[in-house]
């Protein structure tokens, strides 16, 4: 047997030693923690397990998208929290994108005042910790709103008060048919786009794709209203006296101030980062590209649509998805103002009641982790698809 094979000179063995040591160290730390946890839990008379998820929660949640009261289980409470997290994230992402694109474009404006205003917006909101902004909106700004009887009235349809924002409720009949019609519209738009692309590439015919798509998107759901018995009516909020001094609104949907404050702060904070991405993206498209496009006779709209935007989007989208992810993670700050998101409902209230720190914190972290990982997998796929294919 060759002795060199076993000696430290052999590269394979030399590489194995640090790896083995690291794994050993890691395993012993895990083992140490696990034994301690087992002893500690044994002392408290609880055993590791997820059976508690089906126990009765016996606490109420102030705001829930699905039915919930004390008689539902902890698992259901987790679901409520998760849905609330997703709700505020979607609202935040929607508003942040709109605001971010506007501010980012405004920063590039040739109007000095607009560019400066946008720049100061970014500098101010980016450099104040998000949690302070949430506190500001919730404890200071929204508390200055009037009480229900003196509500800020939007055309007798919607009311803004200190207790929340009351908006009309959508009352649908045959909502499922409406959804199917929407799906049908999107499918037909997809095929229309394929058809027009083919026409353009093979015959050089340019069809008004956008107008046609818009027409389909409006006409098919409209037809479902006229022919298939879908109907929509609104349930308007109405002022109701509870006692001599206290009023509230009935009917309609109430958007709680916690949600307003959180969505506002999250979107205004994240918008600053999106604005910077948009600016970098548009600036990243070389001047030569625009000049080349103009020199082959494209008009301004075509240059923007066919040359500038595809290249700018390639720069803008990856960091912006990252910001969406950050926004979702930052929505956990909800716990600070008692918006019932996953952290507040599950990692705080449920944990306090059951005392199952390890299980609950692990579930919460794993949920966020799987969200992050799935988005980054999606992102990598998109990046690969969008990467410049050199021939």
């Amino acid at each position: 047997m060759n002795l060199k094979k076993l000696s430290i000179e052999n590269k394979k063995i030399r590489n194995l030693i640090p790896q083995a040591l690291t794994i050993l160290a890691l395993l012993s730390v895990i083992f140490y923690f696990a034994t301690n946890a087992q002893i500690n839990m044994g002392n408290r008379g609880i055993s590791f397990g997820f059976g508690f998820l089906s126990q009765e929660a016996s606490f109420d949640i102030a705001f829930s998208l699905i039915e919930f009261d004390g008689s539902y289980s902890y698992g259901r409470a987790f679901l409520v929290g998760l849905l609330n997290t997703i709700l505020v994230s979607i609202i935040g992402i929607f508003l942040a994108t709109i605001l971010g694109v506007i501010v980012g474009v405004a920063r590039l404006s040739n109007n000095y005042l607009i560019a400066k205003t946008a720049e100061w917006y970014v500098e101010i909101f980016r450099n104040i910790p998000l949690i302070l902004q949430i506190f500001f909106w919730y404890f200071a700004a929204l508390r200055a709103l009037p009480s229900p009887e003196n509500a800020i009235n939007f055309y007798d349809v919607s009311y803004l008060t200190i207790k929340g924002w009351y908006i009309p409720k959508f009352v649908w009949i045959n909502f499922d048919i409406f959804c199917y019609s929407l799906i049908l519209a999107f499918i037909s738009i997809y095929f229309l786009n394929r058809y027009t692309k083919k026409q353009r590439e093979e015959f050089g015919k340019i069809l008004p794709t956008f107008t046609l798509s818009l027409g389909i998107l409006i006409s098919i759901p409209l037809l479902s209203f006229l022919l298939l018995g879908v109907s929509l009516s609104f349930d308007y909020p109405e002022l109701k006296q509870l006692s001599e001094t206290s009023y509230t609104y009935e009917n309609g949907v109430s958007i709680i101030p916690e949600l307003i404050a959180l969505a506002l702060a999250l979107s205004m904070y994240t918008a600053t980062f999106i604005a910077e991405n948009v600016r970098a993206g548009v600036m990243g498209v070389g001047k030569g590209q625009k000049e080349a496009a103009a020199s082959i006779g494209l008009n301004k709209g075509q240059i923007l649509k066919l040359v500038v935007m595809p290249q700018a989007l390639r720069i803008i989208i990856p960091p912006t998805t990252n910001q969406y992810l950050n926004l979702t993670k930052n929505s956990s700050l909800a716990a600070a103002i008692a918006y019932p998101d996953m952290v507040l409902v599950f990692a705080k209230t449920a944990l306090m009641q059951t005392g199952r720190a390890i299980e609950i914190i692990s579930i919460t972290m794993l949920t966020y982790l799987s969200l992050s990982i799935s988005i980054s997998i999606l992102m990598n796929w998109y990046n690969k698809k969008m990467a410049i294919k050199e021939k």
Partner: protein
């Protein structure tokens, strides 16, 4: 025909410029008297028209003075910068009017009608902000619940730190090395001893009493000190050729980067004690510090990895061809260059770290934002949330803005050097 006559051209400058200027000036006059003197010049008009009148008038005025190549340098500059098209003119007016309208209530609240003198809420009689609140609570906002008589210790710890950092910039290169080693490895212990006391005749102050803005600085300073080396190790680990080390590093980095800081803090507060032998107690501040450090180290690792990836392969090969081993190569050749590349990224991570510190209130530690939460719920000072959060926002804004400006300058400087 009429439209043609209204088109602003250079030959009509003598009529259009004065006319347009009068329109614009009148529009601004209307808004200004409206906001500051409470007098409505155009009150005779119908209500809706009255409301939009300055906008319409200013818009028309700006249209008239939009004369290309007028020869007047000031006018050309004005047109180019704020009045280049109808849409731009409209936005310009809108922004200016909003600023004028907003500045009056803002100034009233902040300064003109605010109260500065006094010592209790009853002294706040005006409609403006009650800065007495900040004045009375200032000590608490800066030092938390740290005993008043002992606060000189916090001050001297920070003064010593600033002095040492300041001196480190000026001492000759030869001693600098020892100075930095002292700063990194000896000063932290001195600082901790000074703050917590318990010996050398200093009264013991438990960490639960630490708080306010000084706690923000303490946490930031320690987290920066520790997260940097951990981040560098993780970055090297992620690029290691040894699979076990690489995968452990990747797992560690992605785990921390995938979860929000608030859950990490919860973990440090409620889950971590379960993992320790019964009866062992680790101070809450230390647990939080470890959590923040590991969290930020993962972000730091990704920044450093960016620098490592940006280095050309030739650097590695050259180092290896000189016979250098892994550590010598990294410490002497790779890291100095890679870290220099990512200084702006490091500065941004540190900025994020400072912005994250207020989150520690979720585990019951109170820095500036937390102290304001405490102060505004004091029965004697109810209703002071606005003042408190505006003040805290301003303090944090100044710190973070200064940091981001510094990192931007650094970025510019470094990008021109290369």
């Amino acid at each position: 025909m009429i439209l043609n006559n209204l088109k602003p051209t250079k030959d009509k400058i003598n009529t259009f410029l004065p006319l347009g200027s009068i329109f614009v000036i009148f529009a601004f006059l209307d808004v200004l008297t409206n906001t500051f003197l409470n007098y409505n010049i155009t009150g005779f008009l119908p209500k809706t028209l009255n409301y939009f009148f300055p906008l319409l008038l200013g818009y028309f005025g700006l249209y008239l003075i939009r004369i290309e190549f007028s020869g007047n340098r000031f006018l050309d500059k004005l047109n180019k910068n704020i009045n280049s098209s109808n849409f731009n003119a409209f936005l310009t007016l809108l922004i200016l009017f909003i600023i004028i309208k907003a500045i009056s209530p803002l100034m009233n609240w902040l300064i003109l009608e605010a109260n500065f003198a006094g010592s209790s809420k009853d002294d706040c009689t005006g409609n403006g902000a009650c800065w007495v609140f900040i004045k009375v609570w200032f000590n608490r906002l800066m030092y938390g619940l740290y005993p008043d008589v002992e606060q000189w210790r916090v001050n001297s710890a920070f003064l010593l730190l600033f002095a040492l950092v300041g001196i480190a910039f000026f001492v000759p290169q030869k001693i600098k090395k020892y100075f930095i080693i002292f700063l990194l490895f000896v000063y932290p212990f001195i600082g901790i001893k000074l703050l917590s006391g318990g010996s050398f005749g200093l009264v013991y102050v438990e960490t639960a009493a630490w708080g306010g803005l000084s706690l923000t600085f303490i946490i930031s300073a320690f987290a920066i000190l520790f997260c940097f080396p951990i981040g560098v190790f993780l970055a090297l680990g992620r690029r290691s050729s040894l699979p076990a080390i690489r995968y452990i590093s990747i797992g560690f980095i992605e785990l921390w980067r995938g979860v929000p800081l608030i859950t990490v803090l919860f973990m440090a507060a409620v889950m971590f004690p379960m993992f320790l032998p019964d009866g062992t107690f680790i101070d809450k501040l230390i647990r939080v510090l470890i959590a923040i450090t590991l969290f930020e180290a993962a972000y730091m690792a990704e920044v450093v990895r960016g620098g490592l990836q940006a280095l050309p392969k030739g650097q590695y090969e050259a180092a290896k061809s000189l016979g250098m081993g892994y550590w010598r190569m990294n410490v002497l050749i790779i890291l100095p260059q890679a870290l220099k590349l990512v200084i702006p990224g490091i500065a941004n991570t540190l900025l994020a770290l400072v912005k994250d510190t207020p989150l520690i209130f979720v585990v019951g530690l109170m820095e500036l934002a937390g102290m304001i939460g405490l102060a505004k719920t004091n029965p004697k000072w109810l209703g002071m949330a606005m003042e408190g959060y505006v003040f805290a926002g301003l303090v944090f804004w100044i710190i973070c803005y200064a940091m981001s400006r510094y990192s931007q300058n650094l970025e510019k400087k470094l990008s021109t050097e290369r």
